[in-house]
Symmetry: C2
Subunit: 426 residues, 2 copies
């Protein structure tokens, strides 16, 4: 980073995380006379709302990921650094990073944006992770994809009927959007894509269980939409068990209030925990670890440090903002604009206000639920709206083109597009 020292007279804005919030902030600063440094530990921006489609073999990893460098290639004031963050010194305005070369490096900043997202959380039971992987990064998705496809492979050559049934049982723990969308996608994988490909098993007989601790699926939606989603899931042959907290997860089984259920494939979609930004900054956090931020998304006491998206706890009159892409995107844009105004010595911006575009979840082909203000929609029209919005929000034209063509292909052929099991050690 020595090469940059010559330009050190420019203010430096460091953005940690190339997700929705980080990229939105960087883009809002495109005309700033400043040095924008985007730090991420992967080389790609990931469109997480479609990650479950990689895990269930519809989309390929590259369809929903864009190199961060490519997204920012034309933004000449932006530099991208592949590195892990190790800590922040908010007083001295420096960030400690760990480069892939193994070297450590300290980056000073004038403003800092932390938008490092969340990982899935096992609520203190990290031992579950071995048996029930979660879904947050691309590598999670390809590993779940291999697990799901391999379950059918193992069943095909399994002589014992009881074991074959266990191999063909898939459990999703947590009926939020990810759990529901994956259950629907696995139901269609077995029903259409894999249907004619096996000789000793009937993939359509695979059992899919969706387990939820709270009383209904998709609890963030209105009750009538939860009910519609439940009916649709049942129509696809998904067994739904609500009000059923998981007492234990082990190798090839879960325990539900006394009953033990055998399943070869268990996937954890039950909760998230934020990145450790509160620890880096040594500031106040909520119970799950999110940094409590001010109405302008800054950290109390540090007006030049912002925490956004899933890592932030942003209080509104009616509770904190949810950990969804729209919140991250809007906070990113807001923080970028705020920093830009300050650089130009323009009057201060008002507090961040979230505009709720609504909520959507998709359950298999041709069916989604949609809620926006008082509007509640379910079925084909909601599904079209879902597809349209997801295409529109993809990071670049190439991803849009790839996802659109792949969806069109899958829609008409009923064939999932990306069904590789790639394991270096096979």
């Amino acid at each position: 980073m020595e090469g940059r020292s010559a330009r050190r007279d420019l203010p430096r804005i460091v953005i940690v995380g190339g997700g929705f919030a980080g990229l939105a902030a960087a883009r809002k600063l495109r005309d700033a006379e400043a040095e924008i440094v985007v730090v991420d530990r992967t080389n790609h921006h990931l469109f997480q709302p479609l990650l479950y489609q990689v895990a269930t073999a519809t989309l390929a990893p590259g369809d929903i990921a864009s190199p961060i460098r490519k997204v920012l290639a034309q933004q000449k004031n932006a530099t991208v650094v592949l590195a892990d963050v190790e800590g922040v010194d908010p007083e001295n305005r420096t960030l400690a990073v760990h480069l892939p070369s193994g070297k450590r490096h300290t980056v000073s900043f004038d403003s800092l944006v932390i938008a490092t997202g969340a990982r899935h959380s096992y609520f203190g039971h990290s031992e579950y992770s071995r048996y029930a992987p979660g879904l947050k990064a691309l590598a999670d998705a390809t590993s779940i994809r291999a697990r799901v496809l391999k379950a059918f492979e193992l069943a095909e050559t399994e002589p014992d009927e009881a074991r074959r049934k266990l191999l063909l049982t898939f459990v999703l723990i947590g009926a939020g959007p990810t759990g529901v969308e994956m259950a629907g996608a696995i139901a269609e994988l077995r029903r259409y894509t894999l249907r004619h490909e096996f000789r000793n098993i009937d993939p359509t007989l695979a059992r899919i269980l969706l387990v939820e601790a709270s009383p209904r699926v998709l609890g963030s939606f209105h009750e009538t939409l939860s009910q519609k989603a439940l009916q649709r899931l049942q129509r696809l042959g998904v067994e739904v068990r609500v009000g059923n907290p998981v007492a234990d997860v082990g190798p090839e089984h879960i325990v539900l209030s006394g009953e033990t259920l055998g399943a070869h494939t268990i996937i954890w979609t039950a909760g998230v925990e934020p990145s450790p930004a509160a620890k880096w900054l040594n500031v106040e956090a909520d119970r799950s670890g999110r940094v409590r931020v001010m109405p302008d998304c800054s950290v109390p006491g540090f007006p030049n440090i912002f925490v956004l998206g899933d890592t932030a706890y942003f209080e509104t009159g009616t509770g904190p903002l949810p950990g969804v892409a729209q919140v991250a995107l809007q906070q990113g844009r807001y923080a970028g604009k705020l920093i830009y105004s300050r650089l130009l010595n323009r009057p201060a911006l008002g507090p961040f206000e979230y505009f709720d575009f609504g909520n959507m979840a998709v359950i298999g082909r041709n069916f989604a639920i949609l809620e926006r203000g008082g509007i509640r929609l379910s079925g084909y029209a909601a599904w079209l709206a879902w597809a349209f919005v997801h295409i529109a929000y993809l990071a670049d034209y190439e991803n849009r083109f790839r996802v659109l063509t792949q969806w069109a292909w899958t829609y008409f052929t009923k064939q999932g597009g990306s069904r590789l099991i790639v394991e270096p050690d096979v």
Copy 2:
């Protein structure tokens, strides 16, 4: 595999390997009243001639791989088994396999087709593999892709100029088709795709060295075409060193007749060795380990066991057949037809005859060389022919569609399509 015992009155033809030869044999047997069992240790057929494009970030892994199950879904007499072969008992006509469940299993056969291909070979220096990976499977390609892209990432944050130069030096050992095609592809990656994305380095200055022991590149082509290819490589900025055997390969360096060259990325494209079929069968092999086969591709003494493609040594009047896709494909079709004729008690087929459709190699955009009989072509027309033939030979419509659209995209935008670094441990 118990489920199959009821049909054990049908003759069973076991095909090991779902590559060009294995799939071609299976398809020729589509109308046979027989049980066809295709055994492979991966779940996909791989279109190897385009694998270098995955390694150099143009195509995504899924673009050139199809699930073997999908390819054979409509062929009701074919069963696909994901397993590793551990040995063959040719006298008792059984095959020992290792299932992914960890179980071992013995499969009996009436006819056996072994088409298990080749791996890259370090000519006895297996210690080189750590420093100079080779390219044969999808996992090799994604790992080389990560290595190449990461070299630019490391250089971007490297303060020391000498080390930066080393990080931006790429060496390809072996100037056969794979080495030449990769050198051209890396040259274009740095020249177009990565051009505007870095701030501290100029990717176009990356040094690409192609090293070859023999006196010319693409030695299997006519000398005039070798010369054309060499000129094109030089025009793309590739340094070519022919007549220069590699004396040693170490971490970040190679030794060439006394001179030591530093390079962070070294890729081995210098040779292949066949799968261990000769050991499984305990039969005569040539020096590299290929099974010497009869004029009908069968193993001497075992008329019902066939060895095809890269694993076979097939003598013609002018030396053995080369290890190329066309040989594998034609031998696969021949063996399938031969077995089918026998099942129908038709008169015996004549010996296998290879029809040489010619040879092609591509060097960057708009340039290929092509040789067929007395015809020698280089330039744009050869490149169009190359693209056409490669699209036509892809295993299924979906792959054709994906590769075609991706190539069109890349051609017009000059942007490589698949540039992910996915490492579970980052």
